[in-house]
Symmetry: C2
């Protein structure tokens, strides 16, 4: 039996725990506000002992963001596979994004909110995944345009508006108040789809 959270598959089991707890702490305190000592306390591993599993605090953030983003992208590609109808594809995009967001809220908050906390090669690799994800979103919108189903809207601004609508949820979503995935996905899909279709 594997770990409860599938995001960190392929990792050492102890590293999984570290990444999960670190994501939790980064989400609550912010990357710079969080401390390796916080993670040591939370995981029960000593301060020095943690460095057996990662080389630096930056690499720790990188690993969290990378795993989170790669799974999100992979999940989207799988969902869209074999679906031809442009409207259905957009619905799937929204559903996948929000489902993943709510299921992995802490990691997605870290991915969204700490987008500028890395630099160098780490940042470059995350941005590469980001471009790949953005390209898929753009193509879904472009297919709607090509099918003549969409109003004449700037594709980039259209996609960014949708992503903003969805990514912002880490600032306000409250499970008790706002319900489950479909309680978000339905109105958001409705608003956006109806908003861009002819």
């Amino acid at each position: 039996m594997t770990s409860a959270k599938t995001i960190y598959a392929g990792c050492d089991q102890k590293l999984e725990i570290i990444l999960r707890e670190a994501a939790h702490i980064f989400a609550r305190k912010g990357f710079r506000g969080a401390t390796i000592r916080d993670i040591a306390r939370q995981t029960g591993i000593s301060l020095a002992g943690l460095y057996y599993y990662f080389r630096s605090k930056d690499e720790l953030l990188f690993l969290i963001q990378k795993h989170c983003f790669e799974w999100l992208t992979l999940s989207l590609e799988q969902q869209l596979e074999g679906v031809a109808d442009p409207v259905a594809r957009l619905r799937l995009l929204v559903k996948n994004h929000l489902e993943y967001f709510l299921t992995n809220m802490r990691e997605m908050k870290v991915l969204s909110h700490e987008a500028e906390s890395l630099d160098g090669a780490f940042l470059a690799e995350i941005e590469q995944i980001k471009r790949r994800y953005y390209k898929i979103c753009l193509s879904v919108v472009q297919e709607l345009i090509n099918a003549g189903k969409m109003k004449e809207l700037n594709p980039r601004i259209t996609v960014m508006s949708l992503l903003g609508m969805m990514n912002w949820i880490y600032n306000w979503y409250d499970a008790k108040r706002d319900g489950k995935v479909h309680d978000l996905a339905n109105p958001m899909t409705e608003i956006f789809l109806r908003g861009i279709l002819r």
Copy 2:
């Protein structure tokens, strides 16, 4: 002749400069990543000399957020004043928000992105303004519902979707690529309005 940026009206002239430069640096490096020494270098004031104008780094962030948010709210209230038509009011809300955002991008990024960086009395006061602003947005949507012009959507989720769409722009807006205010406000208004109206 007053200062170039009206946001910090009512402040000591030198404090205005400090707040403006600090907002610039907080936006670029993040609140915790930025240093009082950075602000000293940028303003030409010595490290110790800065503390004549504010009591702590936290208060500095608070002052930036407070001035920014109060002006935004005031501007919205003035724009809506005397306008009765619900659809027109929503258009004005979007226009005001985006106009203000693009005009004061650095401050609005600091306001949006550092929403959890304060605590205690500072946080409480900012959240009070936030509730006031949110209430206005909610009432604008509620008026649309009462007028029977809107679909049956959860008002809270509707408002948060709109705010997310707009607030996210600090993550992607590029003046050269994305044009001016109306290049954003027009498509966003169109998408959202068409998305929620019957």
